[in-house]
Subunit: 142 residues, 3 copies
Amino acid sequence: MPHLVIFYSGNLDEVTDLSPLCRALADTMLAIRDESDRSVFPKGGTRVLAFPATHFAVSDGGEAARAKGESGELYFVYLNLRMAAGRSDAVKQTIGEALLATARHFFAPLIAQHRIGLTLQIDESNAQVFDAKFGNLHDLFK
Amino acid sequence: MPHLVIFYSGNLDEVTDLSPLCRALADTMLAIRDESDRSVFPKGGTRVLAFPATHFAVSDGGEAARAKGESGELYFVYLNLRMAAGRSDAVKQTIGEALLATARHFFAPLIAQHRIGLTLQIDESNAQVFDAKFGNLHDLFK
Amino acid sequence: MPHLVIFYSGNLDEVTDLSPLCRALADTMLAIRDESDRSVFPKGGTRVLAFPATHFAVSDGGEAARAKGESGELYFVYLNLRMAAGRSDAVKQTIGEALLATARHFFAPLIAQHRIGLTLQIDESNAQVFDAKFGNLHDLFK
């Protein structure tokens, strides 16, 4: 942890490649610093994973868009960061705004050409009753 | 938001097509009205996304079913609606029952022929510390 | 419920097959017993679903690893069990340790050869406002 998960309508793969977005969001997370100028997210623990939905239904299915003479193809992207609890409100806001800026920048050309809805939400892990990390990724940065 | 995410064992794609289910669930959500006869879910913010699991293990792997002379192929579908907090208990119950009725109707012929477990859960976003929406989908319905 | 969901970087499919892990984790869950020697998880309600991320970014993208002469290919696996609330702290700990042992055993040969980060988290369903189960899987075990 933290991890950022992206769920999106699979039709988006026909008009863009989300791999650079994943990298840009991870870099954004790694660059965030707190009030004491320390990294908020550890290098070995930062990851962004994006999953295309194989089947999906967005909004009214394109009816209103077609009535306006558009193609009716609708796209949807949900970005969800899950992070440990305990950070300050200011840091949470900084994280949210930084990720939002990166996502807005990436999607701007797509929004100019397509009908896309995007939601970015950050959750604190408040329901967690067990948490273990293993492997050898953190060792790289010791 | 809201969004409904469906996680399912990938073998289900061999016996059905979940795209019409996604559409039916989205239409169900769009039709729900509250005590004041207002739409509970906004058109521009309603989406259903379904993800087949590439690898999975369901129950005992089919042992008990094979012992009864069945094929032992088991299927599982998890439907999870995440929605903003603050709705009345009555509305929550209405939403749950409406989605359940749509899912039951869709899966009835499959349940008649296969071993399928299904779970439908609705969560309120109670861990959310940042929430942003962007794009141009909501504009369609203004 | 319960269900265990695995989100992982898609490159992992090139070096291993997660299907046996799913089975091993389900078997681990089915074997767990509480203080009264009763099964913690019902047979008909236990499932493990694994989803490869199509697009992903892990850590620094491999920069530090390449600087050490490694390939720079990084892998990430997130295992998340969601279960109903109300179990004792001892049982939660037992569940977490049992799943962790199974995952450690499965991944040991991979960790010996690759850079992999793994996180296992268990959440209690504390935000749930509607919960329905249907289908015919539980009937197998009555």
